[in-house]
Symmetry: C2
Subunit: 207 residues, 2 copies
C-alpha cells in the first residue's frame, strides 16, 4: 500500500508533513508513505529544504495520492510539462488535495462532478477552473476524491485515507496517537464524525 504526498517547491510544511506524520502511524509492513516531488529536493515557502522520497511519476502507481499546497501552485498548473507528469486516476486511486492542491486536481480535470474545499486564497482560482467551492467547509469527499481547506485540515485528509484503506479503527488509532494529551477523545471524535458525515452514502469500494 503506497501513499504518495505530492510536494512542490514553495510547499506548505503543514499540509504535506501533517499528512505524512499521521499516515505513518499505520504500522504495517506493506504500508509506505512517500513525499513525491518533481525534483530530488524541494524548498518550502519558509525555506525548509527536504529530499524527495520518490518521484512525481511514482504517484501514478500509488494506491492513494495527496496533493499538498504551496505558494507556487499557480506556476505548477501553468507548466504543461509538469502537469503531464501527474497521471492520476480516481477509478483506481484515492485522490486527496489540500488547499491550493485542489487547484491541481481541478486543472487535471478530476473535479468535474465533485464540489471541493480549498483555502480562501485559492478559492477564486478553483472557481475559475469551473469547480464549485464549498464555502465554510474544511473537508468533502465523494467516492474516491476528497478535498480539504485550511492547513490543519490535513489531519482530516490523512484520517480519510487511512479509513478508506485500512478501516475506521486504524484511522481512530492514528488520530488518537497524534492528538494532544487530554484532548485525544475530542480530536478522534471530531475527525471521525466528519468522516462519517461526508462518507455516508458517498463511499465507493476501491477496486
Amino acid at each position: 500500500m503506497h501513499i504518495a504526498i505530492l510536494t512542490f517547491d514553495g510547499f506548505n510544511e503543514l499540509d504535506s508533513l501533517i499528512a505524512l506524520g499521521i499516515l505513518n502511524r499505520v504500522k504495517k509492513p506493506d504500508w509506505c508513505v512517500s513525499i513525491a516531488c518533481p525534483s530530488p529536493e524541494v524548498t518550502s515557502m519558509n525555506g525548509v529544504t527536504l529530499e524527495a522520497q520518490c518521484a512525481l511519476e511514482d504517484a501514478a502507481h500509488a494506491d492513494a495520492v495527496i496533493i499538498g499546497s504551496g505558494m507556487k501552485t499557480r506556476e505548477v498548473v501553468a507548466d504543461a510539462a509538469l502537469m503531464a507528469r501527474m497521471k492520476l486516476d480516481p477509478s483506481r486511486q484515492l485522490l486527496g488535495a489540500q488547499c491550493s492542491g485542489t487547484l491541481i486536481l481541478a486543472k487535471l480535470g478530476l473535479l468535474r462532478d465533485v464540489p471541493a474545499c480549498t483555502d480562501l486564497t485559492t478559492k477564486p482560482w478553483v472557481e475559475e477552473a469551473g469547480v464549485l467551492v464549498l464555502n465554510h467547509l474544511f473537508f468533502f469527499a465523494r467516492a474516491n476524491v476528497a478535498t480539504a481547506g485550511g492547513c490543519l485540515a490535513s489531519q482530516y485528509l490523512a484520517a480519510w485515507v487511512i479509513a478508506q484503506l485500512e478501516g475506521v479503527d486504524a484511522a481512530r488509532d492514528a488520530m488518537h496517537y497524534v492528538a494532544p494529551v487530554g484532548e485525544k477523545e475530542a480530536y478522534v471524535e471530531r475527525a471521525m464524525k466528519k468522516h462519517r458525515a461526508v462518507s455516508h452514502g458517498e463511499r465507493r469500494r476501491m477496486m
Copy 2:
C-alpha cells in the same frame, strides 16, 4: 527576533514543522524561525531528510527556543558532548518543549521548579529525571518555560511563543490562518483559552 526549533535525527515531523509553519505566519521583517540541528542534515522518524537552517549552537542566541521530539531523544540526552552544545537560559529566552523534547529540558536542569507536559511514552523518563509530569494536560507554561504533550499540541506551543513575543492578537491571527476552513473560530478560541488559563498569574515579562 529569532526562534530556533531544535530538531535531531529521528525527529517527529509534526512537532518541529507544525511549530515552524505557525510561527512563520508572523510576517515581520525582523522575525526569523529556523530549524536548528546538530548536523547539516537530519532525517526524521519516517525517513524525511531536511537541511538545517542554523546550527544547534545558534539557539543560545535565540529569543525563543522550541525543542522538538523524536525517536532518538534518549540517545541525545545520553550524549554529553551533544547536550553541552545547548546553552539555554530561561532568564533571557522563552523555552518550549514538545513530547520527548521535555526530557531534554529536564536533563538540562531547566525544569527543576516547573511541572511539565509530555507524551505518554516519555512520561516515565521525565519522572525519572525528577520532574513532575502533569497527567492529562497537553500544555503548561510558567514564566518563560512551556511544555506540551501530544504531536498536535505543537500548535499551542507556537501560539504561546507568538503571544509572548508579539502579543495575543498576533497569536490569534496565526491560528486563524492555519485552522481548517469552517473551524477557524473554534481553533482560535481553543488555543487562546488555554493560553489565558495557563498564563494567568504565571506570566513574567521578558527582559
